[in-house]
Amino acid sequence: MKIMVTVKQVPDTSGKVAVNPDGTLDRASMQTIINPDDMNAVEAALALKDELGCKVIAFTMGPPPAEGMLRELMAMGVDEGVLITAREFGGSDTFATSQIIAAGIDTYGVEEDDIILAGRQAIDGDTAQVGPQIAEKLNLPQITYAGDIKKEGNTLTVKRMLEDGYMTVKVNTPCMITCIKELNNPRYLSVGGAFECYSKPLVTMTYETLKDHPLIDKSTIGLAGSPTNILTSFTPPQKGAGMMLDGDGKETTDKLAGILAGKHII
């Protein structure tokens, strides 16, 4: 049994975000972090490892510096990292990305008792599409929005969160589960782990490694293989300045209530 976790290095959109004059993101000026939901997926994998002693492998697609993120995850307890990186993979939308990552996972090998975990969505695009699409390409069942995962033999019982409650769903391995922040609290990396992380195996998969896989074709990967294209991008509108009321006393609140009543808002 092994657990494969997909992770992504993303710009930290919670901090200051710089936008270029042409409406694209100024990535160079931004901090990168491990995508928050992916940390919950990693923690779920490591918790299962603590319980069952299985191997945990982190997969990521991205430019070579993403190795740093994989090393960080190794310091938390991940056993191996797989970095999928190639110029040919650049510009991929979610469809093309899932083709490539699925090919990488399949090349590594999916066995009967394996679990694949992913974060629900990444904060750069917020699409939540790559997890389900990897599952489809690997022909595996999926459960998304996991708020709790229990394993008994090869059966997983997952609390699948809905907006108005939850479903309890059972699934057999191998399967794909996407994780949300309510699932757990990610651990910190350990000092011992930080020493060990550079001696753990890191596999790099390039276009050469994957090009003979049936999912990999110039017409299904990269910008040319992406079904979607960006027509235009722009910064969202800023509302015009409103009225700042002077003071914070009863006169001020009376004035505001008067305006609202006068405009028939209340």
């Binding site: 694209t24 069942p141 235009t232 609140t253 009376d254 209530a257």
Partner: protein
């Protein structure tokens, strides 16, 4: 004829996935049908709903009242509760049979599970969590002029783009606009080479049209043959549990009073004040992500990029600094009132009326003032 998603000319009509849970239509479905009507009219085609469930004919007619011409209904005990496998199989096979050019889903926890799976199987493009949809180019350009800072001549030039070194006219493409990078950027996405063009649409964003009883009675209900067996479904739904507590209806509310980190001094009192103000206004209590993450209030109250998008008549932000993720969920409110101790809080950038002050002092006074103003009417 074999299904080929690249044979774009073979596809016609706008389809909406009509999500129901326990036999009750999700409110977002009516928003999508209303928006779908606009798209179908712009394309000059029919608007069809696709409804899956167990014995759900009884809720199909209502879709006509919001603009659907036809509803394809698929009934089976195996479709009673949502499973990715069963729903994907039925929808994919229906798309292969009837070939719609546009297919939209609500971006609910179910729509966002199902739509990507369908798009991957159909080999087509999917745009997540859209907040604006267009077909018609003049309308789309008008939208860009209104909401973007793009130069007008650049907007006017839009029409033909290079796709894999071939010129392609976007006239009949679905223009799918969505926020990215936590709302810092907006992008319009197209799916030029494959059909159907697929989108999930953020709940609460599209406006529901007026219900037309005559159209509801006239809607055509169809029951195409389909195959589905228990072996097709690899997951087992053990139970479906509705939250015991009544969820707050942020999307339907005319007045929302939201709390932020500013209530940290006395969380209980802060929430009680917000509840009292909401009651006086006849509204409900919302919250920023910070309060939900701190465990002060349940997640169904959350407004913003990862919460709900709202556009009430009045949105009162109490002690909310106004991170872009929060603003993304409320900046289209008709009137925004902000109370914050920090005069430089970004929330004041979108506020119609701002008061710099301590919410624990200001809110009790505001409650009094509003009560008095209402009584005076």
């Amino acid at each position: 004829m074999a299904f080929n998603s690249a044979d774009t000319a073979a596809f016609k009509n706008v389809w909406v996935f009509c999500e129901q849970r326990q036999g009750v239509m999700m409110p977002t479905t009516f928003e999508l049908i209303s928006e779908g009507r606009k798209l179908a009219d712009e394309l000059g085609v029919e608007l069809c709903g696709i409804l899956l469930g167990d014995n759900v004919d009884g809720i199909a007619n209502e879709l006509g009242g919001y603009g659907a011409d036809k509803v394809y209904v698929y009934n089976s005990p195996l479709l009673k509760d949502f499973t990715t496998d069963a729903y994907t199989k039925v929808i994919v096979e229906a798309v292969e049979e009837f070939k719609p050019e546009v297919l939209v889903f609500g971006a609910s926890n179910i729509g966002r599970d199902l739509a990507p799976r369908c798009a991957a199987r159909l080999h087509t493009g999917l745009c997540a969590d859209c907040t604006h949809l267009d077909i018609d180019m003049p309308n789309y350009k008008g939208f860009l002029k209104e909401v973007s800072t793009l130069p007008e001549e650049r907007i006017e030039k839009l029409g033909t783009v290079m796709i894999n070194r071939e010129p392609h006219s976007v006239e009949r493409d679905l223009k799918m606009t969505r926020p990215a990078f936590g709302g810092h950027l907006m992008a319009s996405i197209i799916c030029p080479r494959f059909r159907p063009a697929m989108a999930t649409v953020r709940p609460g964003v599209m406006k529901k049209r007026e219900y037309d009883a005559a159209k509801a009675a006239a809607v055509e209900i169809l029951h195409p043959a389909f195959e589905l067996s228990a072996e097709d479904i690899k997951t087992e739904v053990v139970e479906v549990v509705k939250a015991a507590k009544k969820m707050v209806d942020l999307i339907g509310a005319d007045f929302i009073v939201s709390v932020g980190r500013g209530i940290s001094k006395d969380v209980e009192k802060g929430i009680a004040l917000a509840e009292e103000l909401a009651e006086v206004l006849g509204g409900v209590v919302g919250s920023s992500r910070a309060c939900v993450d701190s465990g002060w209030i349940s997640a169904d109250h959350q407004v913003g990029q990862t919460g709900k998008t709202v556009h009430p008549k009045v949105y009162v932000a109490l002690g909310i600094s106004g991170a872009i993720q929060h603003k993304a969920g409320m900046q289209d409110s008709e009137c925004i009132i902000a109370v914050n101790k920090n005069e430089n809080a970004p929330i004041f950038e979108v506020a119609d009326y701002g008061i710099v002050g301590d919410l624990f002092k200001v809110v009790p006074l505001l409650i009094e003032s509003i009560k008095a103003a209402k009584e005076a009417k």
